[in-house]
Amino acid sequence: MSEHIYKPFDAELRSLKDMILAMGGLVEAHISDSLRALVERDSARARSVIEADRQVNQMELAIDELCVRMLVLRQPAASDLRFIAAALKIVTDLERIGDLAVNMGERALALCDEPPLRAVVDLPAMASSVQKMLRDALDAFVTRDDAKAETVLAADAEIDKALVQIFEDVRAEMKKDPANVDRGISTIFYAKHLERLADHTCNVAEMVVYLVRGQDVRHKTNR
């Protein structure tokens, strides 16, 4: 795309894209750390994720500020407007994803001192699918690839199924032995956080479709 007549606007748009990517990279790292904390029973890593969320929050504030500044000073239109509108929405979802990584870290911390339930074995597989969705959504944002964003949206159904399966498995474990209840609850929460994370990732992907096609695909079945 050609450059704006007013050059500083180009620099601001580039910087917005870089900031979203940096924030996306950060929350990806936090998810990955909270998963390792769970798998490796590493409480120090879990605590570091909880602590590092501040950085995500600061990035949200900085991105919001840049977006509002561009809206008022540059009065963007067409794809620039869609880009900034999408960024404002995406940043909220990324911040929520960061919060969910913290919640997962907290659950990992609770689970650290005990051996895993049988069902916990399925959590890393579910987590890795969610991580792929987020990576693809961020890639789709950078490359403005609406087809890739659609694959992210399509992947969500499997995540919902995985959650139901983990519910079933953990419930069975808890029924078997009341000693499993505490671990079971934390495990269910962990899986629920992952499922919510996938939902926020889908919101990001929906914004990518809006950015590329100018088409709002949200709430398709429930308008």
Partner: protein, 256 residues
């Protein structure tokens, strides 16, 4: 045409316009819907004012101007040989960039057109003046100054008076060529507000360089470039998701 589809107020079909050897409009076709505000945007020299002036045949006054194609008002050609141009210009009024009241009284400015068209006289003419001034929100402020020279009014009042002058002859369509470019932001907002009131009764076509103004006031926007109508559509769509890359470049400020 199917019965459930409204006839457009103005319909432009394959319009080419030449100033001597220079082609200012190239195969322009569009429909202007009744009681909506349609904005025409585009860089200087793109043909938007020329297109506006074809709607009431103002270009007839330019030597060497040649028009090919047609413009229809309510389904009737305005370029038909037997068309009464005075009557056409009564039905399609125009407001210009700079307020251009006659150097006459406030009353005479509004009454002039109605009188020469034989619409009214005496008390009926007084009523038309009052209604027209009220429609542009000037009546309460000027009802005691009707004999004052119109040139003593402020720029905004003069522009409102020019709009009242057009309304006095009961037109169908209002053409506005950069009507706010000589006004400050507050006066601009007030004229825009007035347009929103007038659109209940009139079809409005506005040419503007101010893209924010087009976005604020119009329901439909057409983008013109080098004599061509590149695209026309709902304003919201043209400014958020234009279909043509050239429109995208222009509305997003990428156009040199």
């Amino acid at each position: 045409m199917s019965a459930n589809r409204a006839v457009p107020k103005l319909c432009v079909q394959g319009l080419d316009l030449y100033y001597g050897d220079f082609q200012a409009l190239i195969n322009v076709s569009l429909e202007i819907t009744e009681r909506r505000i349609t904005a025409l945007i585009g860089p200087s020299g793109c043909g938007k004012s020329t297109l506006l002036r074809t709607f009431n045949r103002m270009n007839d006054l330019i030597v060497g101007c040649k028009v090919v194609g047609d413009v229809e008002l309510d389904g009737r050609s305005i370029y038909a040989p037997n068309r009464n141009v005075d009557d056409l210009r009564k039905r399609i009024g125009m407001v210009f960039q700079r307020p251009n009241p006659f150097p006459l009284s406030v009353y005479e400015n509004v009454a002039y057109g109605a009188r020469i068209h034989g619409l009214a006289a005496g008390a009926a003419l007084d009523a038309i003046v009052e209604q027209s001034l009220a429609a542009v929100d000037l009546w309460s402020g000027l009802k005691d100054r009707l004999d004052d020279n119109a040139l003593t009014l402020s720029g905004e009042q003069q522009q409102r008076l020019c709009i009242a002058r057009v309304l006095a002859v009961e037109p169908d369509v209002l053409l506005m060529d950069e009507p706010c470019s000589a006004l400050d932001p507050v006066a601009t907002m007030r004229v825009e507000e007035l347009m929103q009131e007038l659109v209940d009764r009139y079809t409005i076509v506005i040419v503007t360089h101010n893209m924010q103004q087009a976005a604020r006031v119009s329901q439909d926007t057409g983008f013109m470039l080098l004599g061509e109508l590149v695209e026309i559509g709902p304003t919201n769509q043209v400014f958020t998701s234009p279909r043509d890359q050239r429109t995208e470049d222009y509305v997003s400020g990428r156009f040199g």
